[in-house]
């Protein structure tokens, strides 16, 4: 593949530094606005950039439409996860969760609406928050991360109601099982635990690495990604990407991919997964690889499907990871273009 000719601009100290920062940027999290027209992306320097999807997808999009509409410093540390409620954008990174108003976020100098820190046990090092999950029925937010607990925060009052303990190492990811309601959490200790929110107790534990079919000891035992579809669950990371039947806690399908996966989601009748390696993998439930769509980053950390009903023209899949770019897939089959920080 031909490399594009490098730009011959006289580079002063500031330009070199900026270029180096962009080269070493990692986008950890994304979130779509409630109106569906904007995408927020958070990176490892603690910045959040808001991109206008409607402008970038419109027919007279220029190079500037692929740049953020506004970028601001949200946290001191990396922004590991973000979710959107119908009015707020919640971002979490180094130990705190902050809320931003979507209506105000496009103005310069936006300040957070509130910030909360869950009660941590250790005070030596502030643990990070790796995953945020909204439970709409209870109007609460679940945070999980470095201190191995799941904290529940009530969104109206802002108080921390429950702390679910059980993991022995830090938690990577969360998923919500709508019907029960139950929360699944996957962690560094290699176990996927189901928590019943009403009784606040651990309902089920699946230790993935103990199952021979899916364990891969040379990668480790950590569970990096989780997705659930009421009766079914797919998880991956160190062990192979596997589809589980929750009631019987048995692995039904193992997806044949060697690279550890960092994000997985159910979409219509497919399972989309991404991780090390620059492709998004499309799997059928039977375990066959339907397609591998290449992106522009050497490794992907987050996938986001814009399914907001208010903006059907912005229905796209966006992928971000080990680069400063967010790939936009209008049709799941190929990469349309990339937004960039």
């Amino acid at each position: 593949m031909e490399r594009p000719a490098p730009v011959a601009v006289p580079l002063g100290q500031a330009e070199v530094f900026q270029a180096l920062q962009r080269l070493h940027m990692t986008v950890f999290s994304q979130s779509v606005s409630p109106c569906g027209k904007f995408l927020a992306a958070g990176n490892n320097y603690g910045q959040i950039a808001i991109f206008s999807l409607s402008a970038a997808l419109s027919s007279e999009a220029k190079e500037e439409s692929k740049k953020p509409v506004v970028t601001f410093q949200a946290h001191d540390g990396p922004v590991y996860s973000m979710v959107s409620t119908d009015r707020h954008l919640l971002s979490a990174g180094d130990g705190e969760v902050k809320a931003w108003l979507w209506a105000e976020i496009l103005k310069k100098g936006c300040k957070e609406m509130w910030r909360r820190q869950p009660p941590y046990r250790t005070s030596l090092e502030v643990p990070e928050i790796n995953a945020l999950l909204l439970v709409p029925k209870e109007n609460s937010l679940i945070l999980a991360g470095g201190d191995c607990q799941l904290h529940t925060m009530d969104l109206e009052t802002g108080t921390f109601t429950r702390a679910l303990r059980g993991h022995t190492d830090y938690i990577h990811c969360l998923a919500l099982r709508e019907r029960s309601p139950e929360v699944l959490s996957g962690g560094e200790d290699g176990a996927v635990r189901l928590w019943d929110l009403r009784t606040a107790k651990e309902a089920q534990t699946i230790e993935v690495y103990k199952h021979e079919e899916c364990s891969r000891p040379h990668n480790g035992r950590w569970i990096g990604c989780l997705a659930t579809d009421s009766d079914w669950m797919v998880c991956g990371g160190g062990p192979a990407l596997t589809l589980w039947h929750l009631r019987s806690s048995t692995p039904t399908t193992i997806f044949p991919i060697r690279a550890p996966q960092k994000h997985v989601t159910f979409y219509q009748d497919l399972i989309l997964s991404a991780g090390q390696g620059h492709c998004i993998n499309h799997w059928q439930l039977s375990g066959e690889l339907k397609a591998q769509v290449p992106g522009s980053s050497p490794g992907l950390l987050s996938l986001s499907l814009n399914q907001q009903p208010a903006a059907p023209e912005c229905k796209v899949l966006t992928a971000a990871g080990n680069s400063c770019r967010v790939d936009v897939f209008t049709n799941l089959g190929y990469r349309a273009f990339s937004l960039s920080f």
């Binding site: 270029a19 950890f28 540390g77 030596l124 960092k262």
Partner: protein, 635 residues
């Protein structure tokens, strides 16, 4: 009248008398004659009364007329009087208005204000008691005071004028005296030359230099003046000298001699005839090129002494036809340097001053008009002649006061002092920093080639006490080879790997693990940091595209370089970055999670103190070293 009437009547009567007189003129005639007589007498009486009445009427008329005449005369007299009076009244009114409007000159004078007047005027003029009440007197008094003051001031003025005359005369006298001193001083100066030399005060030398400077072309002159001024005012370590032949410089401007004797004429003709055979086209072109690239015979030499006794010698030349300045540089050190292999390019005259300012590589002529000149003689670019002529850096043009605008070629660019002055200080400082950083690198390279990373004592706090990974190799790499490496694609695409940079390869080893680091060294080191790209060979090949932790290690040295700069002026950056890479490799290898399926102990037992081994969705290792506690944590 009455006689007339009677005469008139008489003929009548006669006639009438005549007619009846002959007939019966008896009693009827006599009676009738008596009646007629009576009647005649009556009519005469009537006539007389009539006349009387007429006369009376006339007299009455006359009287009446006289009376009216008199009255009329009286009325006329009164009328005249009235008019006289009216005229007088009008006249008086006019006079009054005139008087009222009269502006006496005294109102045009600005008098001092009342308070001041009462304060300043002596009492015999101000007469306060009288003037306070009477405004007329007051004004008179004020005018008096004004007059007094004016008289006094006029006196003063005359005095001052006379003083001035006196002083002017004195000045004239003194000037004459001074002008008579000049020849005497000259003789004293001549006599003092040996004394100057004996006492090491080269005033005369400086004077001679200024004399030579008059023959310099304008840009070199500007450079000379500004550099000398800067050297005297701010920087004692800078010294300026002029080299070259003054006679040749003078010869350039001498008009060709018109008066030629026959001898020289015939000589010239002879020479011409022998040269009838025209030189070949190529030689002609060559001559034209040489002519175009000709240098002015005089050049300015500037020496910058740095703290460690090393000297940067800069020689500035002026290319006359191209109107640009070039510079040749040389670095001499106090002690003879043994050049390590990898440091070959660091101090070479060709590249030591490259990119002093970003993008100023000195391989292209800065004067856009030169392109047209080059086309005429077939020179493609100045790059081929740069080694011989010196580099035409942009900062050199600015020091000579030549300002070339980027886009449009100008017909004449004149040398400007203000441009040179503003750049002098920055450029001199940059030059010194450049020489010192290159010399520092020189020393560091010598040590690196032997496998030792020279960390100074004031930077030791950045690293833990025990570092096991070792630097094994340090070599230079060609630009093309760097571009061909598979793990440097990102840097090349970002445009950070130009051909003005220097490239090196370092190899760090520990046990079976080998870490290759490709280094891009920008000429603007150390304000622009070196950029590292890593490739680890241990249980497979790991680069930033397939291992997040390698990417994090690169970020630690590339993005977080400011903590590694060390004390000013930051020449320790490269060695600190290399040492940090060794520490990072240690951490990486020791914190690698043990693979349960493989038998045997871990190759690298964990010796570093870490709070947590993995953090975040990408499972980062703890690469940040905390001083003085000595443990590793995550950023």
């Amino acid at each position: 009248m009455s006689s007339e009437s009677s005469k008139k009547r008489k003929p009548k009567v006669i006639r009438s008398d005549g007619a009846p007189a002959e007939g019966k003129r008896n009693r009827s005639d006599t009676e009738q004659a008596i009646e007629i007589e009576e009647r005649r007498i009556q009519s005469c009486v009537h006539f007389m009364t009539l006349k009387k009445l007429n006369r009376l009427a006339h007299i009455r008329l006359k009287k009446g007329r006289d009376q009216t005449h008199e009255a009329k005369q009286k009325v006329d007299a009164y009328h005249l009087q009235l008019q006289n009076l009216l005229y007088e009244v009008m006249h008086l009114q006019k006079e009054i208005t005139k008087c009222l409007e009269f502006k006496s000159k005294h109102e045009e004078i600005d008098l001092v204000s009342l308070e001041e007047f009462y304060k300043e005027a002596p009492p015999d003029i101000s007469k306060a008691e009288v003037t306070m009440g009477d405004p007329h007197q007051q004004t008179l008094a004020r005018l008096d005071w004004e007059l007094e003051q004016r008289k006094r001031l006029a006196e003063k003025y005359r005095e001052c004028l006379s003083n001035k005359e006196k002083i002017l005369k004195e000045i004239e006298v003194k000037k004459e005296y001074l002008s008579s001193l000049q020849p005497r001083l000259n003789s004293i100066m001549q006599a003092s030359l040996p004394v100057q030399e004996y006492l090491f005060m080269p005033f005369d030398q400086a004077h001679k230099q200024y004399e030579t400077a008059r023959h310099l072309p304008p840009p070199l002159y500007v450079l000379f003046v500004q550099a000398t001024a800067y050297g005297q005012a701010c920087d004692k370590t800078l010294s300026v000298a002029i080299e070259g032949s003054v006679d040749e410089a003078k010869a350039l401007f001498k008009p060709p001699d018109d008066s030629q004797d026959d001898e020289s004429d015939s000589d010239a003709e002879e020479e011409q005839t022998t040269k009838r055979r025209r030189p070949t086209l190529g030689v002609q072109l060559d001559d034209k090129r040489k002519e175009m690239l000709k240098r002015h015979p005089l050049s300015v030499m500037v020496d910058l002494k740095c703290k460690d006794e090393s000297v940067l010698h800069l020689t500035f030349y002026y290319l006359m036809n191209l109107n640009i300045l070039t510079v040749k540089a040389k670095v001499t050190t106090a002690t003879e340097l043994i050049t390590p292999i990898s440091a070959g390019d660091l101090l070479s005259p060709d590249s030591v001053l490259s990119c002093l300012y970003p993008g100023d590589h000195g391989k292209k002529t800065p004067n856009p008009a030169n392109q047209y000149q080059f086309d005429k003689v077939g020179i493609l670019t100045l790059r081929d002649y740069v080694l011989d002529l010196g580099h035409p850096y942009l900062w050199v043009q600015k020091l000579g006061g030549l300002h070339f605008p980027k886009e449009q070629p100008q017909h004449t660019v004149i040398a400007d002092h203000s441009l040179s002055a503003s750049h002098m200080e920055t450029t001199m400082k940059l030059l010194k920093t450049r020489v010192q950083s290159r010399l520092a690198l020189h020393k560091q390279f010598a040590s690196l080639e032997h496998g030792i990373v020279p960390v100074t004592s004031d930077c030791q706090y950045l690293f833990p006490a025990k570092v096991v990974s070792r630097l094994v190799k340090w070599v230079t790499v060609a630009h093309e080879d760097y571009m061909e490496l598979h793990f440097t694609k990102d840097i090349v695409e970002a445009g950070l790997a130009g051909d003005t940079n220097l490239y090196y390869m370092a190899l760090i080893e520990r046990g079976t693990a080998k870490l290759q680091a490709a280094v891009v060294l920008n000429p603007g080191y150390s304000s622009i940091p070196p950029i590292f790209q890593l490739c680890l060979n241990w249980k497979g090949e790991k680069t930033n595209s397939n291992d997040d932790n390698i990417r994090a290690m690169e970020s630690e040295v590339n993005v977080c370089y400011k903590e590694l700069c060390g004390p000013r002026p930051g020449h320790q950056l490269l060695t600190n970055q290399l040492q940090r890479l060794c520490v990072l490799l240690d951490v990486y290898l020791e914190t690698e999670s043990h693979d349960d399926s493989v038998e045997g102990p871990k190759e690298f037992p964990q010796e570093k103190m870490c709070l947590r081994l993995f953090r975040g969705p990408s499972r980062m290792k703890p690469f940040k070293y905390n001083h003085p506690q000595g443990f590793f944590s995550h950023r």
